[in-house]
Amino acid sequence: MRLQYPPNIRIVRVPCSGKVDLIHILHAFEKGADGVCVLGCLEGDCHFNNGNLMARRRVEQAQEILNSIGIGGERAQMYNLSSSEGPRFAQYVTEFTEKIKDLGPNPVKLAKNKAA
C-alpha cells in the first residue's frame, strides 16, 4: 500500500501475537526501547484461537511491572486489527509513536547515557 508511517518503528514479526512472552517485552525495555506495542488480530479472529487474548494479558502484566519500577506502564500497549487493515496499522503506530515521543526517552536508556 506504501502508506507512510514513522521510520523509528522496529518491527518484529511473529506468527501470532500469542508468541510474544512477557519476558520479551521486558527485555526490549531493558535494552533501551522507549515503547513496545503488540499488534494482534481482532479479538475473536485469532487463527490460533486465543493467542491474542494471551498477548493482551501479558501486555497488562508488563504494564504493571513497568509501573512498579517507575518506567511507566503506558510505554507498553496492545492494539488489535485485521491483517488486511493497512491504514489502521499506520494509524495505530503513528498514534503510538506520538504518545511515546510525549513520554520521552526510556529512563533506563537516559541513565545509561548519563553514565557513559
Binding site: F29, I65, I69, I71
Partner: protein, 222 residues
C-alpha cells in the same frame, strides 16, 4: 503443594539496596506450579530489577539460576562454585528453600522473594486454596476427607457453628463452610449417622504448638 505469592517488587528492591552482585534463585517445584518463583518468574524479576537499577544509575549485576528445588542439599550444591561472586541472593523458593539455602551458604545474605502462604491445591489456574495445616495427626478418615483444621475458620471439631449461612462461612461469603462440606460428604457416603459422634480433644503437641517438628525414619537413614 506449598502455595506462595510474589512479594511486591518495591519490597525486594528495598532488601537489595546496598547490594551490587545479586543472584535471583528460583525453584522448579511448588512455586513454579503456583507461578510465583519458577524460571519464568526469575526472568521477569531479574529483568525488572536490572531496569530499576539502571534507572537509578546503579551498577548492578543480576544473574538468574533456577534449581530443581531448594530443600535438598544436592541441588543447592550446584551453585557452590559460583556463590562467592554474589553479595546477595533473592530466593523465590518457599520459606523452606530460603532458609535451607541460607543454611548452606552461611555468609551470603538470602532474601525471600515470595510470601509463603499455605499447603493447598490448584482449583484452577490462578486460584490456589488451602487444604492442610500440618497438624501432625490426620483425622480425615472421620470427617469425610475434608479437614476442619484447615478449612474451618474456627477449626471446630464438632461443627458447624451458628454462623454458617447457605453453606458459607460467617467470615466471608466466598469461603465454604467446612462443616457443610463435611455433612454433605458424609451424606453422600451414607455415613451421616457418624455426625453425632463426639470428637475428642485434639492433641496439638504435634502441631506448631509443640515446637519445631521433625520426622525421623531410622530405617532409611544411612
Amino acid at each position: 503443594m506449598i502455595v506462595a505469592d510474589r512479594k511486591p517488587i518495591e519490597e525486594i528492591i528495598g532488601y537489595l539496596k546496598d547490594h551490587k552482585n545479586i543472584l535471583v534463585l528460583g525453584c522448579n517445584e511448588c512455586v513454579t506450579v503456583c507461578e510465583a518463583g519458577g524460571k519464568k518468574e526469575v526472568g521477569v524479576l531479574a529483568s525488572a530489577l536490572r531496569m530499576h537499577a539502571k534507572k537509578e544509575g546503579n551498577e548492578v549485576k543480576i544473574d538468574e539460576v533456577t534449581l530443581e528445588r531448594q530443600c535438598d542439599r544436592e541441588y543447592l550444591d550446584e551453585i557452590r562454585d559460583s556463590i562467592d561472586q554474589y553479595d546477595a541472593v533473592v530466593s523465590l523458593a518457599c520459606g523452606v528453600g530460603v532458609q535451607f539455602t541460607a543454611e548452606q551458604y552461611h555468609s551470603t545474605p538470602v532474601y525471600p522473594g515470595v510470601n509463603t502462604c499455605f499447603m493447598g491445591a490448584t482449583e484452577k489456574r490462578g486460584l490456589w486454596t488451602e487444604r492442610c495445616q500440618g497438624c501432625g495427626q490426620c483425622i480425615l478418615a472421620t470427617t469425610g476427607s475434608i479437614c476442619p483444621v484447615a478449612r474451618c475458620a474456627k477449626r471446630l471439631f464438632n461443627g458447624p457453628c451458628g454462623g454458617s449461612t447457605d453453606g458459607k462461612c460467617e467470615i466471608n461469603a466466598e469461603v465454604d463452610c467446612a462443616w457443610q462440606l463435611i455433612i454433605d460428604r458424609l451424606e453422600a457416603l451414607d455415613r451421616l449417622d457418624e455426625y453425632e459422634k463426639l470428637c475428642p480433644l485434639k492433641d496439638w503437641s504435634t502441631d506448631r504448638a509443640g515446637g519445631p517438628r521433625k520426622v525421623v525414619r531410622e530405617d532409611v537413614q544411612q
